[in-house]
């Protein structure tokens, strides 16, 4: 017997078990180190930019904020020094941008873009790790960035003017890059008065007390509305994308249903007056804005496909955007039928934009942009460049997802072009067509039930052959789609081509 004595009676010597415990502790400490690395390196960029991070709040108090300019370099936000306290405060020359840029006030904090890009505007931390390290060695630790927006003042002002005293929103963007060209919400409010320390208290009280207009709610991004017929494009996308319908699909029951209404689960879907009792294909149904065809198409597509393809475009969650957005929905999700619908009736009604569908204008603009860009949706963004002491950088376009293929998008484009340019279509989309430029689009009249006018909607894009601009317009209680939204869209599109060329 060799003499390796075991500790009396033990199966594992004490030294070995202690070694195991030491190993376990070492591993645990390693885990802590990894955790520290996670927060200090991996998550550091977004945490140091969080608006309630004390460093950001401290910077906001002491620093001259960076300027904000539009795509042509026109100043949208700048600074002035108070003659009383010597501290800088914000100045906003153009009220049309109030809902986009928001305000930065020493008393009332920040809102809008001033809030979202607060860290960069105060120069606390930019999305640039090398610049951040360099700044440690400079005597001024802050490098406020000047932001260049993709918005064009010409378009923005025209949009706000076109909405006039009505409440509503206009969203215009470049479908190939996702750059926002105009983001107008009315009513606007006086951000300059809030930023000015002398008038801030009264101005803020007035704005927040305006429960009627509620200007602090940015309608373009946070306003949820019944979409009406503009939603039919979403149904078309889901149907063609899933392959359940094609551009030439017709429904044999349609002619009879046009006359008597379509019975779905005990509820009769009615057409709006004037639609002939015949079979339609996609293009014709879009032209006539046929509720019944789209209801049938939606039923054939299925609730799960409808929800899924809508989700590809951003439905069901806040959109990835620099301003806060409300999630658009195809249904409120309480039902047990596929896609979260309660039953077939709801699906049918949702397919033409009623029932529980609720959308934001930005979301509908993205729907138009998807079709315009051949089925691929680009991520919308306001800021296109940021520049500071240590250089400048551009924000590159980013793809949000491939929703449908180019062939399906082309089919829908053709249908939408007919809706704007054909004689039949123009009954509904009067004024949307831009003279000399092939335009595509869809109007919508969102019935709200009860008394009062419906919402007036329009979505579209131009030119059809190589789309450069997509648009969504809503005028609250504006009446039929062709009454307010379509003509306004047409004017704005024409203005776009006048300003930027064909």
């Amino acid at each position: 017997m060799t003499g390796s004595a075991r500790a009396a009676g033990g199966s594992k010597p004490l030294g070995r078990t202690i070694g195991h415990v030491g190993l376990a502790l070492t591993v645990a400490f390693g885990g802590i180190a990894l955790g520290a690395g996670y927060w200090q390196v991996l998550r550091s960029p977004d945490l140091t930019r969080a608006p309630d991070n004390p460093a950001v709040i401290a910077a906001a108090r002491n620093v001259v904020r960076g300027m904000i300019v539009d795509r042509d370099g026109k100043v949208l936000a700048s600074n002035k020094r108070s003659s009383v306290t010597g501290e800088p405060y914000r100045v906003y020359p153009d009220r049309a941008f109030s809902t986009v840029i928001g305000y930065a006030s020493t008393d009332f904090g920040t809102a809008g873009l001033e809030h979202a890009w607060n860290a960069e505007l105060t120069g606390v931390s930019n999305r640039d790790p090398i610049g951040d390290v360099l700044r440690k060695f400079q005597s001024d630790p802050y490098d406020p960035q000047k932001l260049t927006l993709g918005i064009s003042s010409v378009l923005q002002r025209a949009a706000v003017a076109g909405l006039g005293d009505d409440r509503g929103a206009v969203v215009m963007l470049d479908p190939t890059t996702g750059e926002i060209l105009a983001l107008a919400s009315t009513p606007t409010y006086d951000t300059g008065a809030i930023a000015n320390p002398k008038t801030s208290r009264d101005a803020f009280a007035a704005v927040s007390g305006d429960t009627n207009g509620r200007p602090l709610v940015t309608r373009a991004t946070q306003g949820l509305y019944v979409p009406g017929s503009v939603f039919k494009i979403v149904t078309a996308i889901a149907g063609l994308g899933s392959g359940r319908i094609s551009a030439s699909t017709t429904f044999p029951e349609q002619p009879k249903a046009e006359r008597d209404g379509l019975l779905v689960g005990g509820f009769r879907v009615h057409e709006h007056p004037g639609v002939p009792s015949q079979s339609f294909n996609l293009a014709a149904a879009t032209e006539w804005s046929s509720n019944i065809w789209f209801a049938l198409a939606g039923l054939q597509t299925g609730g799960d496909n409808l929800a899924a393809f809508a989700a590809r475009m951003g439905f069901g969650a806040p959109l990835p955007f620099e301003l806060p957005t409300s999630p658009s929905q195809v249904t409120n999700g309480g039902g047990s039928a596929p896609g979260g619908f309660t039953d077939e009736t709801e699906l049918a009604n949702a397919s033409y934009g009623q029932a529980e569908t609720l959308v934001t204008p930005l979301q509908m603009a993205l729907v138009a942009a998807t079709i315009a860009n051949g089925g691929t949706l680009m991520k919308p963004h306001l800021v296109i460049a940021a520049s500071g002491r240590n250089g400048s950088r551009t924000i590159a376009p980013e793809q949000m997802g491939v929703v449908i293929g180019p062939d399906e998008a082309a089919a829908i484009t053709a249908a939408m072009q007919r809706a704007v340019e054909s004689a039949i279509g123009q009954q509904f989309t009067s004024g949307a067509k831009v003279p000399g430029i092939p335009t595509a689009g869809k109007s919508g009249t969102a019935e709200l039930g009860g008394t009062g006018a419906p919402h007036s909607w329009f979505i579209g894009f131009a030119p059809v052959d190589h789309p450069r601009v997509a648009i969504a317009v809503i005028v609250e209680r504006g009446g039929r789609g062709g009454a307010r939204a379509a003509p306004l869209a047409g004017d704005l599109l024409a203005l776009y081509f006048k300003t930027f060329g064909r």
Binding site: I18, G35, V41
Partner: protein, 499 residues
């Protein structure tokens, strides 16, 4: 020819200086490091407050001198005592203490103010005082403890004392925020839970080392699971359950987690049976779940842990600010004294000097600094476990391991809580957090570890004989004839003595 255990010499032993070169070299590095840190702190103050040009001078040189003098004195005492003790423990804890001092210097001194006679003492002053006491206690214990008899033999007394302390705190303690964690004797108040950790380890070490073979070889089977034999498991579990129950009732969840982890680790160390650990962990998870459902404060803590950002202006504020601090630190930190941007004149993290010192250090020293601090704790734990592995007998081994575990596990729990890896608990970061009781108890731990590491200390008493009857009764018996069956029958007496 009996061998008597060497008689206890006079309390300090003869003065026989023995050089401790490694300790000297390491302490030199500690001194320079803390000095540089102090200069860095002063420079940061100059950046925000240019004022007069000071050149490169340390912040609060008086404190620095006192602290370094204290450490030097401790080093000298250890040299003079001539004991062959571990040479890395003192420098490592001195480094941690130095970092603590720098941190308390850096924080606004008005966080804690105590009036002592004509003097008004601020945060840094009080922490320095406690550090002095702590290191003095550690050195004193290291040098005077020559016999572990008082620890080893009276384990049930220790257990009773611990429970008594806990009960006293429960009924007589000061009510702060609904928790009775402090006990006051006149002007001095402390947190007995801290001392209880050490008492628990002493008891467990004594108990486990005595009954180790039984715990290893025999087990009670409950279905497919094997538990330690019940008669022997019972006292341990009772002691631990009382401690656990009382801290849970007092909602000191960090201490409960600490006790539990130390218990399981020591059980594994003593028995080597992973099965026990598995059972323990399962019980812990089950118990935690039950507590989560039944106790609202636990629920709040867990909810905050899971998603603090949505409640960041309410309950989650503290942990969110801690994470912001870590994020602001990045890789290299903002520099001592340059972080922690104030919000309305206050520090962004509430209770940063007690609950979140690691967040403050994470912000100012960066990931690099945090890893260095974790490394320091790991060094302390490693030295403790090494002392345990090379100890003369099982009691000392388990005691050293347990003490090392207490420090290591405590650091782990609070670091993980600061980093949102586990829910936040209210325990302190050893040596770095502000807090007298914590510093004193950690000083005791270090002192005991140093004493245990002394290779010349009194040899342990002989192990109890392991005859079968002796096993059952635990008493020494002289056997007339050898026990039954397998033992061979001895033949008649051999030749007369005297070969």
């Amino acid at each position: 020819m009996t061998a008597a255990a060497p008689s206890l010499p006079s309390i300090l032993g003869p003065i026989r200086p023995r050089p401790r070169g490694r300790e000297t070299r390491l302490l030199a590095i500690v001194a320079v490091t803390i000095l540089v840190g102090s200069v860095s702190l002063q420079l940061a103050r100059r950046v925000t407050d240019p004022g007069e040009a000071h050149g490169l001078s340390p912040a609060n040189p008086l404190h620095l001198a006192i602290y370094l003098g204290l450490i030097g004195l401790a080093h000298l005492v250890l040299i003079l005592s001539g004991r062959r003790m571990d040479q890395v423990l003192l420098p490592a804890t001195a480094m941690l203490g130095g970092i603590s001092l720098l941190l308390m210097e850096r924080l606004p001194q008005t966080q804690v103010v105590q009036q002592v006679g004509p003097w008004k003492l601020g945060l840094g002053d009080i922490q320095l005082a406690w550090l002095i006491l702590s290191f003095s206690l550690a050195t004193a214990l290291a040098v005077t403890v020559r016999s572990d008899r008082w620890l080893r033999l009276y384990k049930y007394t220790w257990a009773a004392a611990g429970v008594g302390l806990l009960v006293a705190t429960y009924f007589l303690g000061d009510d702060i925020n609904g928790q009775r964690l402090s006990l006051s004797l006149g002007p001095i108040s402390g947190q007995p839970a801290e001392l209880l950790k050490v008492i628990l380890v002493v008891f467990l070490a004594g108990y486990l080392s005595e009954y180790r073979p039984l715990l290893v070889e025999e087990s009670t089977k409950v279905g497919p699971i094997s538990l330690p034999p019940l008669p022997f498991l019972a006292p341990m579990v009772a002691m631990w359950a009382i401690a656990l129950g009382l801290v849970v009732v007092q909602r000191d969840l960090g201490a409960a987690l600490l006790f539990f982890t130390v218990f399981l680790c020591l059980l594994y160390a003593a028995t080597g049976r992973v099965g026990y650990v598995v059972v323990g962990v399962v019980l812990f998870l089950a118990g935690s779940y039950v507590m989560y459902r039944l106790v609202p404060t636990v629920q709040t803590r867990v909810d905050i842990w899971l998603d603090p950002f949505t409640t960041s202006s309410g309950d989650g504020y503290q942990i969110v600010q801690s994470l912001y601090a870590f994020a602001r630190g990045g890789l290299l930190g903002t520099g001592l004294g340059a972080g922690l941007p104030t919000v309305g004149g206050h520090l962004p993290i509430p209770a940063v000097h007690t609950d979140f010192p690691l967040a403050a250090l994470g912000e100012e020293l960066g990931l690099v600094g945090v890893m260095a601090i974790l490394g320091l704790f790991l060094v302390v734990v490693e030295r403790g476990l090494r002392i345990a592995a090379s100890a003369a007998d099982e009691f000392r081994s388990l005691l050293a391991a347990g003490l090392a575990l207490v420090i290591g596990t405590q650091a782990l729990i609070i670091a993980a809580g600061n980093l949102k890896l586990i829910p936040l608990t209210g325990i302190t970061l050893p040596f770095i957090s502000y807090g007298g009781s914590s510093l004193l108890v950690n000083g005791i731990i270090v002192g005991l570890l140093l004493a245990l590491s002394d290779r010349g200390v009194e040899p342990p008493p002989p192990p109890r004989p392991r005859g079968r009857l002796a096993r059952l009764t635990g008493r020494v018996t002289r056997l007339e004839s050898p026990p039954a069956a397998r033992a061979p029958v001895p033949d008649p007496r051999p030749k007369a003595a005297g070969r």
